[in-house]
Symmetry: C2
Subunit: 135 residues, 2 copies
Amino acid sequence: MKVKLFVSLIMLTICFTAFAQEKQSTAVAEKGLTKVCVMYPFAEGKTFDMAYYETKHMPMVAGFLGSNLVKYSIEKGIASGIPNQPLPFMAIGTFYVKSLSEYQAAIGPNRDAIRADFPKYTNISPVILVSEVVK
Amino acid sequence: MKVKLFVSLIMLTICFTAFAQEKQSTAVAEKGLTKVCVMYPFAEGKTFDMAYYETKHMPMVAGFLGSNLVKYSIEKGIASGIPNQPLPFMAIGTFYVKSLSEYQAAIGPNRDAIRADFPKYTNISPVILVSEVVK
């Protein structure tokens, strides 16, 4: 009887500890990280294949980044938030990394492969913003 | 003995269910949401007071959005990711909302208050991108 109770308590402790850690990692995950936003400006005649970008290009680049990559996101531009202004960007892909220098070291040897993949989904030259997550 | 075992199993089930839901809500929280990114382009002579933006402006706007706002983030531009190119944006503030029309309905009546606050932290006219979170 005592052994059963003891085992139950141990299991519950392990479970709640895992739960607490999950909650914490969710809450503080982004602040202080470095973001690398690859932004594709909209203009007449520009094209962007979101399906290829989501299923091929971004997973390839993410694969180069290893454990330095915390997460990545993709957004599809819909409109300008200011009436009568053109769409600013057709798409933005963002890498959240722990270390910018590690990011650069990982991308460097793969730059040619990344650039060779561009024409497969777009004819846009991206703008790249490196930023720090403040909140 | 059987009752204890039964109670332990019930407790473990509840605990693991809570854990599973937490993981799921983390993983799918952003996909499908609408992002409104307020982007402040860098140029010579432009200024941006990040402390005011973080502690006053963004909390004020977030307060107008109510339960439609899932979260908001702030990033501080550090550099262009392309060598020898200028910093694209000094700062970006992003609202993740469930409904764009609700966002617009909430901002509309408060537009004057929001604009009147701009000169307190910047002399930049922002670019605003409305986008859909794909991943």
